[in-house]
């Protein structure tokens, strides 16, 4: 171990600085940009020094634990996960299989299982492909007259304009901590729901997401939150037609219509 008053092997006044004398300062991010670049060049050529720096950085990374703990606002998690899901969907580029007709909403846990296995990517790719480049041909095939074409184009424009917008969800019980966001994607069928502060569920219960068009709620998926009451994932349904989103407590397997308490809702 070096003595405390160890002098650098070189100092700026003495000429070129020895990068090996800068490793601790480098680990503490206490170097100028020029010194940082010099050390990184040195580390690339000296594996032992790189190993030394890694250990110094590990020690430095303990320092934050000496700071009084704090909790970021729930919106940080919401914004982060919305962006991550948006990028994950945008990255998917696998050849899309034909989309199967969907008479009933897919439980979200099953959708998440498909995500885990990668099977959701082709579906996501369908959405993105259609929305990004396929609207023109799709529109032509659907339209038989100018009025229809204008209607479809208006719908497409609305979907594109809606992409990236978020709608808040709030707890239905005053003072309850549940809050979330629904992130619209460039699709009328898929959105990212991120929510926190949900109460724990009793055995045999799940949360069900509903899109409400007029007075008709349509199930958009089931989920069980994380132990801290948070959850992020995809929800699917006819989002463009819905005026509201709601989350209710339902029996495992879901319900045809809401039967339990509505814990959170928001206008779309």
């Amino acid at each position: 171990m070096a003595p405390e008053n160890e002098q650098p092997r070189n100092t700026p006044e003495m000429g070129e600085t020895d990068p090996s004398s800068l490793l601790a300062a480098y680990a503490l991010h206490a170097l100028s940009p020029e010194e940082t670049a010099m050390v990184e060049e040195y580390l690339a050529a000296h594996p032992d020094a790189a190993r030394d720096v890694a250990m110094l950085k590990e020690a430095a990374a303990m320092l934050p634990y000496g700071v009084p703990p704090m909790t970021p606002g729930p919106q940080v998690r919401l914004r982060l996960m919305a962006e991550v899901y948006r990028e994950a969907l945008a990255e998917s580029g696998e050849p899309p299989p034909p989309r199967a007709p969907q008479s009933t909403p897919m439980p979200i846990e099953r959708a998440r299982a498909r995500w885990r296995g990668g099977a959701i990517w082709p579906f996501a790719a369908v959405i993105l492909l259609v929305l990004s480049i396929g609207f023109g041909g799709w529109a032509v095939s659907l339209n038989r007259d100018v009025r229809d074409r204008e209607r479809v184009i208006a719908t497409q424009s609305g979907a594109i304009a809606a992409a990236g917008t978020t709608k808040p969800l709030l707890a239905t019980t005053p003072g309850a901590p549940a809050r979330g966001e629904l992130l619209r994607l460039a699709s009328d069928q898929v959105a990212v729901l991120t929510i926190s502060g949900l109460p724990p569920l009793a055995n045999g219960k799940v949360y069900e997401v509903w899109f409400i068009a007029g007075s008709t709620p349509v199930g958009a998926g089931l989920f069980s939150p994380n132990p801290d009451g948070s959850w992020s994932g995809l929800v699917r349904g006819d989002i463009a037609s819905a005026q509201a989103i709601a989350i209710s407590v339902e029996p495992t397997g879901g319900s045809a219509a809401p039967t339990g308490d509505i814990v959170a809702k928001g206008a779309l």
């Binding site: 590990e58 020690a59 990374a61 934050p64 703990p69 940080v76 982060l80 995500w115 296995g117």
Partner: protein, 227 residues
């Protein structure tokens, strides 16, 4: 992507935000220290596989400490939250290139948060016409009530005790560098001591902290995993 990782496993891991590096007993590394690093490795594996749940779990595990660090440095909640969000997005976007031999994902994350916050401080400082007085820029002591609350935390207490064992002059240069955002040259100039002394104090402090906190040899372990 690790399709074999069950959601229950992942959620169990996500529910334990404690830094496993502190769960050591004596000089040796406790068994669950390795488990903690393995949990981080699993999370990273998910991120590399572009599974958003990896970031979700990483955030649940380290979001609090990342925010505490950013807030300590920046003192503004909104700015600190932006820094934290950007750091996690950076991990998400760069995860595929991460080399475990360079250290733990926790260290990587906290390093990003620290660097971004310090860069923010330096940028703001360079725009300020007033010369910063070092005493004003030094970290502010925690409020008494907050301090009492966090004293309950074992991790916090261990690090606090470790820092307390450092000679004051070593602790000061670490505080000024890590929390104040000063470069070693600035610290030397402002404290009126040789640059070599600042370098020596930094080195001694980090070596001492590593010894006191039993920081595992993540480099060797990372290389072992990479084999």
């Amino acid at each position: 992507m690790d399709a074999g990782l069950s959601l229950a496993q992942a959620e169990h891991m996500a529910g334990d935000p404690k830094p496993r590096g502190f769960r050591t007993v004596g000089k040796g590394m406790a068994a669950d220290d390795t488990t903690g690093q393995d949990a981080d490795a699993t999370i990273l594996h998910q991120i590399v596989g572009r599974d958003p749940r990896g970031i979700e779990q990483l955030y649940d595990r380290y979001g609090g400490i990342a925010f505490a660090l950013a807030y300590r440095l920046l003192g503004e909640r909104g700015v600190a939250e932006d820094v934290v969000q950007e750091a996690f997005l950076n991990i998400w976007r760069q995860g595929a290139t991460y080399d475990t031999r360079r250290g733990t994902v926790r260290t990587w994350l906290l390093t990003i948060v620290h660097h971004r916050a310090i860069d923010h401080i330096r940028s703001a400082r360079s725009k300020s016409s007033a010369d910063t007085v070092i005493d004003d820029a030094a970290p502010l002591p925690a409020k008494e009530d907050t301090w009492a609350e966090v004293m309950q935390g074992l991790e916090h207490e261990r690090v606090r005790q470790a820092m307390a064992t450092l000679p004051p002059e070593q602790r000061q240069v670490v505080d000024l560098a890590y929390y104040g955002g000063f470069t070693h040259s600035e610290i030397a100039a402002r404290m009126g001591i040789p640059l070599g002394t600042v370098k020596g104090r930094m080195r001694l402090a980090l070596d001492k902290l590593r010894e006191l906190l039993h920081v595992p040899d993540v480099v060797d372990e990372g290389m072992e995993r990479a084999r």
